[in-house]
Symmetry: C2
Subunit: 182 residues, 2 copies
C-alpha cells in the first residue's frame, strides 16, 4: 500500500532513528535489515525503496546520528562529567555515536568514513569553541586530545567485565582531562 508523502518522510526518519539506536547497541553486523524495518514498524520489503543497500543505510545513519550529536548548553567540564559517567557507558543505544560506532567505521564504505570525518571536524570545533582559550593553538590541541581521551575511555570502560576498573577508567580520565584543560 502506498503512503502519503509526509508519511513516507516520517517513515524514513524513523528508520534512521531506529537504525542508529540498534547499530549503537548491537553493532552494524549484528543488526539485519529486516530487524531495522520491523523496529520501524514495517516489513523488510520496502527497505530498498528508501535505501539502495545496507551499506547505504549505514552511511546515512552515521551522517544522521553524528549531525545530532552535541553537548547541550553546559560548560565543557559538565559535558565531560556526563560523558564519562556510568550512565553513558551503560547505555550505548542512546549514547554518543562516536563512542559506539567509530571503531567499526574502519570496515565500512568510503561514504561512511566521509560522514565520520565530517562529524569529527564538527565535534572538534565544538569543543575548541567551548574551551576558555578558544582560538589559540593550545585550545585545538586540548580539544583533540581530550576528545580522543573521552572516546577511548568510554570504549575501554565498555570492553571489560570488571566494574571497579571500568569506573576507575572513567573517573581517572575525567580527572586527567580536568587537570589538563584550560
Amino acid at each position: 500500500m502506498k503512503v502519503s508523502r509526509e508519511q513516507m518522510a516520517e517513515n524514513r526518519r524513523r528508520i534512521l532513528d531506529v537504525a542508529s539506536r540498534l547499530f549503537k547497541d548491537k553493532g552494524f553486523d549484528a543488526v539485519s535489515v529486516a530487524e531495522v524495518m520491523k523496529a520501524a514498524g514495517m516489513t523488510h520489503g520496502g527497505f530498498y525503496g528508501h535505501f539502495t543497500s545496507k551499506d547505504d543505510l549505514v552511511a546515512q545513519t552515521l551522517a544522521h546520528a553524528l549531525a545530532a550529536d552535541s553537548f547541550g548548553d553546559g560548560e565543557f567540564s559538565g559535558f565531560v562529567r556526563s560523558y564519562l559517567a556510568p550512565r553513558h557507558r551503560d547505555n550505548p543505544g542512546s549514547g554518543c555515536p562516536t563512542a559506539g560506532l567509530a571503531a567499526a567505521i574502519r570496515h565500512q564504505t568510503p561514504a561512511a568514513k566521509a560522514a565520520m570525518a565530517e562529524g569529527l571536524r564538527t565535534q572538534i570545533a565544538r569543543i575548541e569553541h567551548a574551551l576558555p582559550d578558544q582560538g589559540s593553538a593550545d585550545a585545538r590541541r586540548a580539544a583533540i586530545g581530550s576528545w580522543a581521551a573521552m572516546v577511548g575511555a568510554v570504549i575501554l570502560a565498555r570492553s571489560i567485565d570488571d566494574p571497579e576498573l571500568s569506573n576507575e577508567v572513567l573517573e581517572q580520565t575525567r580527572a586527567w582531562i580536568d587537570a589538563n584543560v584550560g
Copy 2:
C-alpha cells in the same frame, strides 16, 4: 591424519597468531573459522579439536594477543610517538590489539571481556611504571588518561577518510600527552 604432539601445539599457536592478525585487520565478524584455518594451513574441520567454538577462539585469541602487547624497552614518550604514528594507524593487523579490537569486545562473551580486563590492568600498570613519578596518585591518573587518549586517537584516526585530519588527530594527541605527562 594425526600429527605429533609438538606439531599440534605449533598448529594451535599458528591458529592464534593468524586469528589475531585477521581479527585485527577485518574484525571478528568478518573472519570465518574456515578463513582462519586456511590461513593457518589447515581445513576448517580440525578447528573444533582445538577450540570449542568461534567464541572460544575469540576469547583465547584476545588473551594471547594482549599478553604479548607491550612497548619494547624505550621510554614512554618514544612509545607514544610510535603508537600515534601513521605507520601504526595504517597497519592494524600487526598493531595494538586494544586499538584494533577493544570496541568489538563489547559484543563478545564474558570470557573475552575478562581477557580484556586483564590486558588493560597490565597495560595501565606498565605505563604507570614507565612514568617519572611512578607510584604517585598522579602517575596512575596520567597512565589511564594517556592510554585512553592513545587508544581513542588511533580509533578516530582510522575511522575517517581525510588523511590531513587523521594525521592531525595523531599528532595533536601526541603533543597533548607530551605536554601533560610527567
